[in-house]
Assembly symmetry: C2
Homo-oligomer: 369 residues x 2
């Protein structure tokens, strides 16, 4: 998608230097557009842990390239597979909620597992990472095309009035390689000439809505309005939202969806006001090993300072302001789980299904082993 009118992806191999992976540093969006260099597995782990990159699909691809870099680092090791296993552990530990982090690491490990020659191993790893990246673009595109159908149906009932779509956090192209998951249908609707307007939840504590979603919608020319996380219920009560669409970090067998903290509250409001609530997801975020999402998805607790401080621009610099007393205790859960019963449908790269075991099985039978 576009940054400053130029088509970009979120992660790429440097054209001059094949052992340099580059990403947009998403920590300073929208105030600064900067590139972050990943030269080692440790850099990749840092980028994921410190949220230089974020969003389940992009985390996965970054980890894949991190494993590619681990193959380079393992070149001189006596026990390269041990080195790779340790690198995998390090990468997996960075963000416990995102299931396709583990998936991507596993894909890379499997690809190189039996390759004995170090140079060949590096080559295979790079090919695999590139392949996963290209697949991710295709997946995002297909989610968009399937979701477009839903938006078209709503638009048909609105007699030329704009379709108002609420989203939480950022599941746009900045969370993937291109197009996005939750936002891909919106970009496809825009391309199809449908008048869309997006309500953007700011998404405390890290404000990915304000920083990233508003930014990428603006770069793409999609009409949008920033709101506080508290506002969506009121909008839905008053007919100002036609549809909610969010991303997910992990969707489990019964259709429960883990996503950014606060998603569950929006799902409740959507349910209470008969607003359709959709989740856009690549199948890499499906985790059919877990039966009950609310009970069993591990929820990451992050630093309480993310609650106590708020980052933004002041006097031309990016700073964090303290919003409470210094000694105020704070707790910071990164995600919550929305029960399947509040979800209208899962929009996947293979089509739309009900948020249930039956629904998921109908599109992804292979996930049930």
């Amino acid at each position: 998608m576009l940054i400053n009118g130029k088509h970009q992806q979120t992660i790429w191999v440097n054209e001059q230097d094949e052992i340099l992976i580059q990403v947009f540093d998403q920590r300073h969006f929208p105030h600064k557009v900067e590139v972050f260099d990943i030269r080692t597995t440790k850099d990749a782990a840092f980028a994921i842990k410190e949220m230089v990159v974020r969003g389940a699909p992009l985390i996965g691809i970054t980890a894949a390239y991190g494993m590619y870099l681990a193959c380079i680092e393992a070149r001189g090791e006596k026990k390269p597979n041990l080195y790779l296993a340790e690198a995998a552990t390090e990468l997996n530990a960075t963000r416990p909620t995102a299931i396709n982090l583990a998936w991507a690491v596993h894909e890379l490990l499997s690809a190189v597992h039996k390759v004995k020659d170090p140079e060949e191993r590096i080559k295979v790893a790079l090919q695999k990472a590139n392949q996963l990246k290209e697949e991710d673009v295709a997946i995002s595109k297909n989610i968009g095309l399937h979701g477009l159908g839903v938006i078209k149906e709503i638009a048909a009932k609105k007699n030329g009035e704009p379709v108002n779509i609420l989203t939480h956090c950022n599941a746009g192209w900045l969370a993937t390689i291109d197009w996005g998951t939750a936002l891909s249908p919106i970009y496809h609707a825009q391309e199809a000439g449908i008048d869309v307007h997006v309500w953007v939840d700011e998404t405390r504590p890290r404000n990915q809505g304000a920083n990233l979603t508003a930014f990428e919608l603006n770069e793409q020319g999609v009409r949008h309005t920033l709101i506080n996380d508290n506002t969506g219920g009121h909008l839905m009560q008053h007919g100002m939202v036609d549809m909610v669409i969010v991303g997910t970090d992990r969707t489990v067998r019964n259709g429960d969806v883990a996503n950014k903290i606060g998603t569950y509250l929006k799902a409740l409001a959507a349910h209470d006001n008969n607003v359709p609530f959709y989740v856009g997801l690549p199948s890499s975020t499906l985790d059919c090993s877990i039966a009950d999402g609310v009970k069993d998805i591990p929820i990451e607790t992050r630093d309480g300072n993310e609650v106590k401080y708020m980052q933004g621009k002041v006097d031309g610099e990016i700073k964090s302001v303290l919003i409470c007393s210094e000694d105020t205790p704070a707790l910071n859960y990164g995600f919550d789980v929305t029960p399947a019963k509040y979800i209208t449908g899962l929009i996947t790269e293979r089509g739309i299904c009900e948020a249930s075991e039956e629904g998921i099985r109908s599109l992804f039978p292979e996930k049930f082993g």
Copy 2:
């Protein structure tokens, strides 16, 4: 209640100077504890509009003193009642959602309406404002005593475990004169030796939870944890909240409750997880002229910059940081309405009733004319 260990109220007549009304300037809590001087009706209107003071009961009392100052200003007027009517209009226009702003202004107007002598009018107005203030303290205390009963019942089932209470925004003593509305039961529980712990919603956009509720709980020594507004649903899903209690700006005939934006979302989560959801309210916030709260309570739209900027302390100063691009459009509703069906009970100065016309009528028959 306490500030720096000393008992204080939120508004008072200066001891040396009877035409000087003073309040704590709540815009810079918890970073600065400063006093704001109100010498004119315009000062009072400014203090309410700019949220130097906030909270429905305190807004009402500030407006009452504003009308007292109007009586002083009207001393030399040929048509003092016209002057007072204009002052009333100015004060009423400052915050459209808070019903007891209009109520307090009306009380003052009624008290002085037939007083011809200018000096006598001033005296009567001051007496009336003082009386409303003392009544507010008694009301808050009684809300606390009635709410204490609810907390005691929950504590009895917890076998010595702390009672976890979630609150949104600030309906503490800083929103009233003393004790508070929603927080008064908590302070009474603390005095009764019950182990309470409060989950404090930060309450974007103005963060009254982080700035005020956390501050006053800390000054009072009540255990608490600050959370983002997105977090309450997750906590309730996981049995970490025993009770929700909030304040209200206006409660109408059918029991619907207007309160700080985001309250409705917490009520939905409480309902979904069988967590009791109470509203603490002085009867001055009852507005039985409105039949349907969700449809008919006017909801104040505030400056979108409150969404785009976040105030806090940085480098020892209070500053606002921009959290999105400068050109991002933002919308800022101040309140939402929680339908009566999601409210377990209304805790009033006369006892606890169901959030319904029947319930309200049982305690306040005079409100139905």
